[in-house]
């Protein structure tokens, strides 16, 4: 590992995907520069470093870009493997971790977005779908302190940024996470006790304000 490792994160505070990378960097105790992007006015650097998607987060390590949040997390885990392993070492458990991170990617953000970006029937259907996903996730968590077992890991990191959206889901979807999913709430509170998590997550109210702005633009308000 080089003496002067340069780490630059093209960042966005309310993004759950960027939050994942912030948590991973904090878990490993890494120093980095965070540059907040304005998605309505993307920087030349962002367009150069992620020409395919033009999206955040992008981690630039010694000038080379890595894109896609969980790809970045795996990269960080492999390069800085001296502390706080995020993925387990056993291949079967790794496959299990990847499966659930993939499930979270396929379901929580797209369905959640459908809920907060729409109204009427579409919103109701999305709410039902989201509740179904939370049920499945709570079932997978079971009585374990974390999704991976005894310690915070890959699946927890993939999901916990969506805690910032709970207030948004509850307010727009008219349900209560703590009432319907007490185990999930316990788990979230347990994760928040970790500084790497609490310092990396966007405040729930700020996410709600950002979402309301988008809803206005989309004509959902």
């Amino acid at each position: 590992m080089a003496e002067a490792d340069q780490l630059l994160l093209l960042d966005l505070l309310p993004s759950p995907f960027a939050a994942r990378v912030r948590i991973a960097l904090a878990e490993k105790g890494l120093n980095y520069e965070s540059r907040e992007e304005d998605l309505s006015n993307k920087s030349p650097l962002l367009l150069k470093m992620n020409p395919v998607h033009k999206q955040i987060p992008v981690l630039i390590h010694n000038g080379r870009p890595i894109c896609e949040s969980m790809v970045i997390v795996q990269y960080i885990d492999q390069v800085w493997n001296h502390k706080s392993p995020l993925l387990p070492s056993d291949p079967y458990r790794r496959a299990h971790a990847r499966f659930w991170a993939d499930y979270i990617d396929k379901k929580i953000y797209p369905i959640g977005r459908m809920l907060w970006a729409s109204k009427g029937e579409v919103k109701e259907a999305s709410k039902k779908d989201l509740i179904e996903c939370f049920k499945i996730l709570e079932g997978e968590l079971g009585d374990k302190p974390y999704f991976g077992g005894e310690s915070f890991g890959y699946i927890d990191l993939a999901l916990i940024p969506f805690y910032s959206f709970f207030y948004t889901f509850e307010t727009l979807g008219n349900f209560s996470v703590v009432v319907e999913f007490p185990k999930l709430m316990d788990w979230a509170q347990r994760c928040l006790l970790k500084e790497s998590v609490s310092k990396s997550l966007c405040d729930q109210r700020n996410v709600y304000e950002a979402v309301l702005e988008i809803r206005k633009k989309l004509g959902a308000e």
Binding site: P51, R64, C67, Y75, Q78, P91, Y92, R98
Partner: protein
């Protein structure tokens, strides 16, 4: 029970991804054909979340999602690696695997739809192919460089299944003059050892997918 079982369906590109990985690494396995119109209790037990194939079962323990299975195989049987060992190169491979997983299905939307929805899916597919050719393949023989790697296997739908979709719907998408490098790759990939001896018969696939599309449109 065999040490390793692959549960799949014969026309599925996702099934074949795992089959090729097993053969490329010389891993003995038993193949179990599943009937997706009448899912077996075993499949539902192995994949309760998605209820899909492929499922790899190793010593009784199931692993689901084709590209996740491939990472598992690469970690457990390191011979003939599908992933590079360098962390940065690995991140690039995983980026493209995610890209094809997210964007690849637009070709299947072309297959399943008609009218405006199909037109949009054709546009999406063309964009996807352009991006892959320019940014992922470039001038290389394979996506993996000199030999087949994870991205080649992930993109295999383009090499063998896209033609069938094109013929069933009557729309040409991967035109050789528009995508010369990608077109060359489809030939190279299908002529590679192991791959060439393990491809589903295209005539049989045509019959299967024609019937499937007719059913879809009739029930729409």
């Amino acid at each position: 029970m065999a040490e390793i079982e692959l549960h799949g369906t014969w026309p599925s590109p996702y099934s074949y991804r795992v089959l090729w990985a097993l053969k490329l690494k010389g891993i003995p396995y038993e193949y179990v054909e599943e009937d997706l119109s009448n899912k077996s209790p075993l499949l539902l037990q192995y994949n309760p979340v998605h209820k899909k194939i492929p499922v790899l079962v190793h010593g009784g323990k199931p692993i689901c999602e084709s590209m996740i299975i491939l990472e598992y195989l690469d970690e457990t049987w390191p011979q003939n690696p599908l992933l590079p060992s360098d962390p940065y190169e690995r991140a690039v491979v995983r980026f493209w695997v995610k890209f094809i997983e997210d964007k690849g299905p637009s070709a299947w939307v072309v297959f399943r739809t008609s009218g405006e929805e199909q037109e949009k899916a054709v546009k999406d597919s063309l964009e996807m192919l352009k991006t892959i050719e320019e940014h992922a393949l470039g001038e290389k023989k394979y996506f993996g460089g000199d030999k087949i790697g994870m991205v080649d296997i992930a993109c295999s739908g383009i090499a063998h299944w896209l033609q069938v979709i094109e013929e069933v719907v009557g729309i040409k998408i991967l035109e050789p003059h528009k995508f010369p490098r990608l077109h060359a790759w489809t030939k190279t990939f299908k002529e590679a050892p192991i791959i060439k001896d393990n491809l589903p018969n295209q005539d049989e696939m045509l019959v299967f997918f024609k019937q499937a599309r007719e059913k879809l449109l009739a029930s729409a």
